[in-house]
Symmetry: C2
């Protein structure tokens, strides 16, 4: 189901010829209302793709009628020609649906620098074709989710039911996952009736502790966008706190799916820092560990190398006494108060799920970062990506 | 030659039994004076090994008579027992040489958490043995440089002649190379006659643009120390500016040797950012690129993926217009003013030496970071390190 599960939405996923594999590569999601309220968050990267520059203008008034997405080319660093391609894509959708191009968000994903005339012809043609094949069916939602895949091994979808309303979503992403979002396109639909400011607050609260804490490889994308569209078709205006909780659940589910499909990974590593003075301190420590190539390579080799956890923690400004730290890996406390504790050979790192807990013994706050190990396959997939 | 090249120094490198391979693992360098002036810089990591905590106290008065170094164990996160081991090692050297333990620096390198009774017995015994075999010969300098190797494939040494004085040095390091030094032990000797404050200023100026700009894998060690010992035996007090230039040359040579021996690397990548408003901006951009696993994996695959260069630059706060950036890889300008320029297939990435130049078109400052690519062998070596 995904994006077509809530009332008021139609979707399509078509083969536009951008991908050399002949797979679906253009998706369209349309909000038929009665409301067209929307919110979006964008990559924190200063080097932004043309669709990001376009979409940041479109979302400014909080009104969006459709979102068109392509895989197979990022349309980033393609100059003014590339920006015109984004504009033409939005216009093609607007014309086909009888709406303003200024209410059409555009997302692209793929190789940076891809955006020539061939790409333009394919993506504009695909947008028109998608508009012709829109449907509110389950299949349409599935096909849209397939059309945004790049190196993803499977499509990511989720549906959650609230009290009288529904949230549906699709996501793509498999690596280059880092804070401020990363190589991640997410479309979330709901038939709840909420205004744009409420949607914006709910979306920012939800992404802060989910997508923003997924840090697969420390690399931030130029193209990320997480979009929330609300049709109001259920007639239900939920309590914002309750809606935010359900939305956070949707985002957390997708973030976990993204982690589990990260390029070449053999472990899904959850790094939780507890006993911090502030949540930011806890996040900083977890993130520093998640970015240590040495730690990540050790996990790949089933080696519970806790020294590399502490070496990474020591690079942060978080408040703690370096001699007070505990490190627990998969339930075995291998380091207590800064000294070796239980034998490392008690740690079983053969399961894919890996849990590292760092106790700073400095306060009550905690935070978790989701990451992956560093593997031969990661190196292989990312050395062959554009060739 | 290395550390025994300047007058007034003796050295030794012995087999103490810390390394299971039976190779040399304890080195000792002694300054016979007449001066005992010294300076040292230490890892910026807050999680420091016991020898770092000890050595920071020893260097406080600017006087050092000897430095003892071991490979095969980091003596980091080994508790008060580990600190006592460091203390006992310095005392063993002091007793053997008739000097104060408080004038003996200690360095250790190897696996974090290694520092039990067996380690203590070996390192203290090795220190005594080294004191018995001290010599001012070329061989002694070579053996000392071999005794500090860990995963290094070759010992690193350099000698430079000033006007009437000499600088000699040895280094170890092969990965975990990052700012604030990293898994790097360096001992530099000179027979120039300079006081500790002048040595300190010269050393900090030299490391700032050499060792601190070597960023092989973004990981900062717990054990790094770069030490400069001056015997004054030449009777020459050089101009400080001239001395600093020669010392910088020594450090740059060793930094390059460390880069060329980085664990598992197949490319030595020089990342130069030009056209920056400040040197710090230039350094920030070069360092961000040097830490992008995606970029580093692409270089391993001989793929001149300039999009990953820009995506990394965009994560910094450096002053530039994202649409004004040029990227040149091995002499081919693949991106000009933020758009594709020369065809990427003109870039030859088969040589090990790789040069990436990013022009921010914002000012006149520039800075270079030395890094390596991300390879299968890096992952392999670092997943098997402690097992």
């Amino acid at each position: 189901m995904s994006v077509t599960a809530p009332k008021g939405f139609r979707a399509a996923g078509v083969v536009a010829g951008i991908k050399s594999t002949g797979k679906r590569d253009v998706a369209l999601v349309v909000n038929d209302g009665p409301s067209a309220a929307a919110a979006a968050v964008f990559t924190g990267n200063r080097c932004k793709a043309n669709p990001i520059i376009w979409s940041q203008q479109v979302i400014a008034d909080g009104t969006v009628s459709a979102i068109v997405l392509n895989s197979g080319g990022a349309n980033c660093y393609t100059g003014s020609f590339g920006f015109q391609t984004t504009h033409l894509t939005a216009e093609a959708v607007g014309e086909a649906l009888g709406i303003s191009a200024g209410d059409v968000l555009v997302c692209s994903t793929g190789l940076i620098g891809t955006g020539d005339q061939t790409f333009r012809d394919a993506v504009v043609g695909g947008a028109k074709e998608a508009a012709r094949t829109l449907a509110a069916s389950e299949d349409a939602g599935v096909e849209a989710s397939e059309a945004i895949m790049t190196t993803d091994s499977r499509a990511k979808r989720v549906v959650r039911e609230g009290v009288g309303y529904t949230i549906g979503a699709m996501a793509k992403g498999a690596g280059m996952l880092a804070p401020g979002l990363a190589t991640m396109l997410v479309v979330i639909t709901t038939d709840a009736d909420l205004e744009s400011p409420a949607l914006d607050a709910a979306l920012r609260a939800s992404t802060r502790t989910t997508f923003d804490r997924l840090d697969s490889d420390g690399c931030m994308s130029t193209n990320d966008q997480v979009t929330l569209l609300a049709s109001g078709a259920s007639g239900v205006t939920p309590d914002v706190v309750e809606f935010t909780a359900l939305l956070t659940d949707v985002c957390a589910d997708l973030a976990r799916q993204l982690q589990q499909d990260a390029e070449g990974a053999s472990h899904d590593v959850t790094i939780t820092t507890v006993g911090a003075v502030t949540e930011q301190d806890a996040e900083d420590v977890s993130r520093a560990v998640s970015r240590s190539n040495l730690f990540k390579a050790a996990i790949f080799g089933n080696d519970p190398n806790w020294g590399r956890v502490l070496a990474a923690a020591g690079t942060t400004q978080a408040e703690f006494d370096p001699q007070a730290l505990d490190v627990t890996i998969n339930g075995v406390m291998v380091c207590k108060a800064g000294t070796p504790h239980e034998p490392v050979d008690r740690v079983d790192l053969t399961p894919r799920d890996t849990l590292v807990v760092i106790d700073l013994h400095a306060g009550e706050a905690e935070a978790t970062i989701l990451t992956n190990d560093l593997t031969h396959d990661y190196v292989h997939e990312n050395s062959a990506y554009s060739s």
